[in-house]
Symmetry: C2
Subunit: 280 residues, 2 copies
DNA sequence: CGGTATCGATACCCGCCGGGTATGGGTGCC
DNA sequence: GGCACCCATACCCGGCGGGTATCGATACCG
């Protein structure tokens, strides 16, 4: 299988529409149809069921979509890491959520920079999906938050575990409660909804938000309420009240990196991070 | 980057010889040279240093070789799993070392087959490198032995841990000792050597063996001595003596599978295996 | 020291394949 | 029943991948 075929198939499988997929790929529709048909013929497998009105994935197609995304990510990673290896100035790229764990991040960077033999660290801030740049090679190491982000296929070390709190305006009816449960918050009409991995929002009521700053602003305006890790309330609490949510899942901050990584700089950073975490 | 380019580069990087690599790929040497040069040009990176007498990998080339092998393995895996998904008769492929853990394997297969909703299991026996078919998609799940086989990038559950024993003819001078140390055995001239991952043998004295049956036969003939996990002596011990080796690393049998696996059948098999291991 | 064998690079040609436009055919909607 | 939408087919063209022939460099050997 050629990567061109795989890229084309992933585009069609994601769009479920040959015309839009072709446009996204910057080619015309007929060659795309032909390439997909060739791919199916070579594999000896039907990947898509197409009527003239609707395109749908077969079970095999869904499998290839999932596996193929991983392959394309690994390919992009190989390319980027090869280029990085060619520069004799080594450099680590660390991915982190822009909203989360700002203080931990600063301390980690300082502690690592003080290490003898340390290497420049570039920080890649993501609004969400911090694990993605790790899989496609844009980052060498990332700070992830379980259980919100998947860590399968990655090597990880736990840095920090914390409970979650409900964040709301001080004037909110629930603000005076000593503690809350998840159901108390999610049943509210102003409970916030986060996008799924594909950019769509889950069904149901509530505000649609894309980033932590957006969410905090909406809470300040009295338009939203959310359950968030304790650490976020360390920053912006003017006019806001936080109430512990006793049955919310614990949030674990982990440092994660791709398997097979054999870089001295990465090993140092992980060692600093874990040692640092135990001191805290 | 196209997979064709990657396949070509991996071949050259492994052979370190354009002519042999071209032969292996079934093409002539000039197009191969040209394709590698194009790849280097597109990446903007030198992958190989070539004189007219010697070809060597640059640091970037070594990186691309390692990452590229993983990508090609993932691609083969995607292809195989897609074909498998197209057959409505699901089937699990389990890889195991032909010599090792035969009894555990039989019990596991029986226990899983008795499970309601279980699926046919095909067993793929390997002489060594049981993890390879897992990475290139020929197997869905494997029994691996740490620390002999790498498990990075795989999800694992521990099944069994055991010590190691020295296996030798009953007439051997060391056979009467109550216990041994690793150095006692490896210093012997008849210590066996296993091939490296690439098929070459490490330097030094001692017999070169490729498989467990071959090794046991050589031991029976008085031509070899080896340090092996306890379980192997459960089978062939006629005329052989086993002596515990106190400082040999513990051998852990694990069941391993690729991350992201979401198959019901695989989850069942792992559950059976781990539950089964605790009973033992 | 010159002859030679080895090995990668270059030059050049050809056939195939990937991509383009034009068009057909099937299906749901008004 | 007309129409719009959308995937498939037909056909042409240019570029690229692969072939043969050959060059140039280097290590080895007599």
């Amino acid at each position: 299988m050629e990567t061109r075929e795989l890229r084309y198939f992933v585009a069609v499988a994601e769009e479920l529409h040959f015309g839009r997929a072709a446009e996204r790929l910057g080619i015309a529709q007929p060659p795309l149809s032909r390439t997909i048909a060739q791919l199916e013929h070579r594999l000896g497998v039907a990947l898509l069921t197409r009527t003239s009105r609707r395109v749908a994935l077969t079970h095999a197609g869904a499998t290839l979509l999932e596996e193929g995304r991983a392959v394309l990510g690994a390919l992009a990673a190989a390319e980027r890491r090869t280029r990085q290896a060619a520069t004799d100035r080594p450099c680590l790229v660390l991915a982190a959520k822009s909203g989360g764990s700002g203080e931990v991040l600063a301390k980690l960077l300082d502690a690592y920079a003080a290490e003898p033999g340390s290497v420049p660290v570039e920080v890649l801030l993501c609004e969400s999906n911090t694990h993605v740049p790790l899989l496609d090679g844009r980052a060498d190491v990332a700070l992830l938050h379980e259980p919100y982000e998947p860590t399968t296929g990655l090597d990880t070390e736990v840095l920090h575990t914390e409970g979650q709190v409900a964040v709301m305006p001080s004037a909110h009816p629930l603000a005076s409660r000593p503690r809350l449960r998840v159901a108390d918050v999610t049943s509210l009409p102003e409970a916030a909804r986060w996008p799924n991995g594909d950019g769509t929002y889950p069904d149901g009521p509530g505000l649609q938000v894309r980033s932590m700053t957006q969410l905090l602003q909406m809470i300040s305006l009295g338009r939203a309420v959310a359950v968030l890790p304790e650490a976020v309330c360390a920053e912006k609490t003017e006019g806001l009240t936080t109430v512990p949510v006793v049955d919310a899942p614990l949030v674990t901050t982990v440092i994660a990196w791709p398997p097979h990584s054999r870089s001295r700089a990465l090993a140092d950073l992980v060692r600093i991070a874990t040692g640092f975490a135990q001191v805290t």
